[in-house]
Each structure stands twice: as structure tokens, then as C-alpha cells.
Symmetry: C2
């Protein structure tokens, strides 16, 4: 069995999180796995198609109870909205108020002393969904067999992105505004979003690059103690091993 | 804290394992993370510069005791030899017999019923080190300040690679022969290894591609139950959620 030797950086969200290790796109999950190697285990808790409503029961299960002997979540990124913002009659649609309440509940599950999952040291980051390119998304859906109708609208996804920021402010947690960062990179032009979102919905390499840079900037500013540059390897670099008596440096005590 | 919801695919080894998520090379760690998403957590237990001698005390700590409540290691890849094969006076050098004994000990720590880490269901894969391109390695070391002498020899690394295969046969565990796969891909020409090993020692994208394909072929043949195509998501695909009563399908019981 895998022993608890490293704390965790948990990425919780939808397909844009799940796809963060996809080959060829240098996704944010992969890049975090690389820079946090030997420091934190970056866990993929992304669930394609999920909204916050389905996310809550899953969240209850992927975060341990405070009484369990389990790896600490040092950093928790919560990234929803792309599916919650679907328009009716999509079963993925979650009303805006409910979306905000669900995100708030997730934060409270970690931050409220009365919660069974209370973990005051966990650094929480809320992430807004990227803008939707409805031109590309419509083309993608219409090309399917049978063709599907457009399921997301530009302004509606924007309002869900804004809502993530409002919850972050109200809950005093860090906020990575992917919506605005990508919108500005695209010169506030919907067709220009094609550079960042291959199918109008999911980030490509350019899109993940913007997201990753914003995320690392936010960690550096808001939670510098968990920036990878400020964390030490759990097990020592090989040049620091006592080569005559390696066991002296290689048995590591957890705090 | 991070709950135990997924079993583990553990990658245990040296820098060639640690670098498996490096941006731009589509490393084997990243690709495994992608294909096993929502099935197994792929854990990076790669330690740059380490040999098996230093690996053993670390291994004792990264694999849990059988009595612990910890994620099961469904698949364990052990990949050493690149540093053990260093020549004297390198502190990384481990004599060939000791190298074989260390690898054997690692396997036994998981497979012997009397071991505190006994885990009979864990699928073990031994991986041989890639061939060394001593032309590139020598140039790399001579370019340093101060210049360093060549620390590995082609035939010696080959003998360590052979030894991994001998331990795998003796222990009846799967063997991924990266040494032979890359040597054959290079047409058995040392200068041609440059295509697969950027600095003569570490795999680049082409090298990791060969390693990954060999690994997946081996899993398909030797341990098909843990091939990603034969494993289900822990949490259901979104289209299978009972949208009227989502909690019915979203609370998942572990076996």
C-alpha cells in the first residue's frame, strides 16, 4: 500500500481539470506534477461533465474526515462553472444562485470548525471557467450525429465566472480568474478565443499556459508558503545523503 | 485531508522516473496519469541521483505496512540501474551483485508473506535502464565547470540492464526491457542513441515514447486486469448519473 509520505495538491473540478495531464497540451496538472515532484502529490479529481451539484457528494468522499489518518491537502483548487453554466434543458444546468451556494458549501466543508472535513491549514483557490467560444462550440455540436443545439451562451458563462469571484471574496479565499485572463489575451474578441480553446469549451496548450501562469502567480502572492520554490523535498537530494551512513539522512520523520 | 478513493500506480526509481512529467517530453508519468485518470492515482516516487542502496530505506517508507489503512498499490514499477551502474569512484556506484540483491529485496518486501509490507495483489514491473550514450554523456560532463570525467560506460550499464531482467525472471515478475527496446530502435549504434537520450543519460520525448509503449504492452500481456482499458471509473461518467436522484449513483462504496 502507498504510505502517506507527501502532502497533497488536489485539483477538483470538471473535464478541464480531468484533462490537465493530456498529452501534447502541457496541461496545468502535468506542470504542477512536475514542479511539485518530491514535495506534494498532485491528485486529479477532475470529473468530465460534472457540475457543482454532482460535485458535492463526490467532494464529501474525496476529502477525508479530520479524524482520519490521511495525507493533508496543502492546496485545494476548485474549478467548476463550465458545466453549471449550461442552459436549459441540459441536465448539467445549475441555477446561478445554487452554483454560488454549492461553491460556498465546498469551501465551508473545509473551513468550518464544525465540519467533519475541517482542515484549517488547507489553502483554497477558486478558479473561474474560461470564456465560451460559441462559434466553435456551435460548429462542434452541429457536426455531431445527430446534430445538437448550442448548450452554452457567452454571457451566461461570464456570469458564472463572475460568481466564482464573488464567492472567493465573500469566503476570503484566493481567486484565479481564468475567464478574464483568457478574455483579455484574446483581445476581448470571441472569434480570437479559438487560439485558447480548441473546441470552444476546453483549453488547449495556449489556454492551459495562461491558466497555469495565473495559478502560480496567485500561489506566489496569496500562499507563498506552498509555492514549490518555498517547499523542500521530502527525501533529500542525492548529494546531501550521508554516503557512508545513508540511513541517517534517508529515514524521514513526518512533522 | 485527501481520502483514499483511488488505488495507486506507483513509479519508483531515479531521475528518469522523477522526470516523467516534464513539460514538452510527453513523459511516461504524464501519459499514465492521463490514461488512468479517475481509475488510479499515479504517484511519482522518482528520486534523481538515487541508486538502489539509497532507494531501499526510501522504499520502506513509501510503501505502507499491511496493517495500515492506505491506498492499495495496484501496480508498482521499479526502475533503477542508471545510477547504480556508475563507475568508481562515483558515490552512486553499487556493485552488480549488490544491485541484484537490492532489487530482489524490494520485490520481496512486497511479495513475502512475512514482510511487514506484504501486498500479494500488487502487480510488480521491473524496468531496465536505457543504454548510455557515452559520446553525449562525455561531452556533457566535459562542458561543466569544472569539467568532470566520464562516469558511466556503455557495457557496464548493459550488464545492469541484463541484471534487471535476471531478477525479474527469478522473481517471476513482469519485465520492461527499455535497454533493448531503445538499443534496437537506434539500430544498435551508439551515436544513433542521440535520438532517444538528449544528454546521453535521460530520455527525451522519443525515448519516453518507446518506454511507454513497451510498458503498456507489458501490462496488456502480463497484467491485463490493471490495463486502463479494463478498469472502470471510481465515480460514474456524468451521463450515467441518475439526474433526478444524483446521490444514488454518486456515493461510491470501496470494495
Amino acid at each position: 500500500m502507498a504510505a502517506y509520505v507527501q502532502d497533497v495538491f488536489m485539483l477538483f473540478g470538471d473535464s478541464i481539470t480531468q484533462g490537465g495531464w493530456e498529452p501534447g497540451v502541457n496541461g496545468f496538472g502535468q506542470r504542477l506534477s512536475h514542479v511539485y515532484a518530491r514535495k506534494l502529490d498532485v491528485l486529479n479529481r477532475g470529473f468530465s461533465g460534472y457540475n457543482t451539484e454532482w460535485g458535492i457528494p463526490v467532494f464529501e468522499q474525496v476529502i477525508a474526515r479530520s479524524t482520519d489518518s490521511a495525507p493533508k491537502i496543502r492546496v485545494l483548487a476548485i474549478w467548476f462553472g463550465a458545466n453549471d453554466a449550461c442552459i436549459r434543458p441540459s441536465p448539467q444546468h445549475v441555477p446561478l444562485d445554487k452554483f454560488k451556494a454549492n461553491l460556498t458549501r465546498m469551501v465551508e466543508m473545509v473551513r468550518e470548525p464544525s465540519s467533519p472535513h475541517y482542515s484549517p491549514a488547507t489553502r483554497i483557490i477558486l478558479v473561474s471557467p474560461p470564456p465560451v467560444n460559441t462559434i466553435a462550440r456551435r460548429a462542434d455540436l452541429e457536426a455531431r450525429n445527430p446534430p445538437l443545439k448550442l448548450d452554452r451562451e457567452f454571457d451566461i458563462t461570464r456570469s458564472y465566472a463572475d460568481a466564482v469571484g464573488e464567492v472567493a471574496v465573500a469566503q476570503k479565499v484566493a481567486f484565479v480568474d481564468v475567464w478574464t485572463a483568457i478574455w483579455e489575451a484574446a483581445g476581448k474578441s470571441e472569434p480570437a478565443l479559438a487560439k485558447y480553446l480548441g473546441d470552444g469549451l476546453h483549453l488547449n496548450e495556449e489556454g492551459y499556459d495562461i491558466m497555469y501562469e495565473e495559478l502560480i502567480k496567485t500561489i506566489a502572492k496569496e500562499y507563498p508558503d506552498v509555492h514549490y520554490d518555498n517547499m523542500k523535498y521530502v527525501f533529500p537530494p542525492w548529494a546531501e545523503i550521508d554516503w557512508e551512513h545513508p540511513e541517517k539522512s534517508l529515514y524521514v520523520k513526518k512533522e
